[in-house]
Symmetry: C2
Subunit: 146 residues, 2 copies
DNA sequence: TAATAAACGCAACTCAGTTGCTTTAATGTG
DNA sequence: CACATTAAAGCAACTGAGTTGCGTTTATTA
């Protein structure tokens, strides 16, 4: 699959859905475009506000599940018990989901940003604890909120 | 304030509450003891099950808020959208809340452990992002679940 | 174009956490 | 100890994100 970052053309969006075994419905194309445009992350509620036709929230939740399972988006940490998603910038699929970078949460606007350049320190073991994955979350002020 | 780790005597528990401007009620003493005994973390629901008298959930939530504000406990990351707390092992207060260590989530039992020994990598800036705090969360299997 | 299965839409539900308000009990003072 | 004060407890009703079931629509495929 090709990398999905930056703004994409309609044709790209449709073919990305196809490549992930998702049907190219009006809503899902719009949703994928929304994710490709945003530099930070989205909640179900934010999506509902920004999408043209007011879709049912169930449709949004199920689309998010489907996108996540097929490796198009991934959950990002969030302070307020909301589920936030961001587009996978690396090439992920249902079988190999790579999200090996730090995340930044702005304490002002509560947005979460993927910091693709900052690598997460890896360790395998600590005492009797077997470590499989590591997550690094940074907090502070984003460029907008400084 | 003295360090609060390991099992504490009733007298200690009461005086710790006092030092944090909290009243020494039966329930709060029991709650503090529960936290001092557990090596991992607790949710409101887990507390409800383990505490002797079946207290109202509102009482539990308000006690958790009060304990957190006064620096006795701190939130720990949790996968399942639940709010988990663990006892502060360092000396925290309402004014200075230090929680400068990694956290480990067991993917098997969903428990969260404070890894006091693992330090979190610190950085101040990245591009236009101003970083104030960093959190390192590790996932894998805890000693019980290996 | 017809069959099929995915996606959508609606209603009802779940469940952690919250809010308002009254009652109980811990604390401090005389 | 007796009383006033105020934190904490208790109860009921509510909130809001996310879920489940099921019937309908629409994209895909043959
Ligand atoms: Mn990310
Ligand atoms: Mn901790
Ligand atoms: Zn911001
Ligand atoms: Zn475990």
């Amino acid at each position: 699959m090709k990398a999905v970052s930056g703004i994409l053309l309609m044709a790209d969006l449709a073919s990305i859905l196809q490549q992930h075994n998702l049907r190219k419905t009006k809503f899902r194309i719009e949703l994928l475009q929304l994710f490709s445009e945003t530099t930070s992350s989205l909640t179900a509620e934010e999506i509902k506000k920004r999408v043209g036709k007011t879709n049912d929230k169930v449709t949004i939740y199920r689309a998010l599940d489907a996108f996540e399972k097929s490796g198009l988006i991934h959950k990002v940490p969030d302070k307020s018990n909301l589920t936030r998603y961001a587009m996978c910038h690396t090439n992920c699929s249902a079988h190999a989901h790579i999200d090996n970078h730090a995340h930044f949460i702005c304490t002002e606007c509560n947005e979460t940003f993927c910091m693709d350049e900052i690598e997460v320190p890896k360790m395998k073991q600590h005492g009797d604890f077997q470590i499989k994955t590591s997550n690094l979350t940074l907090e502070g002020n984003c460029p907008k909120c400084i």
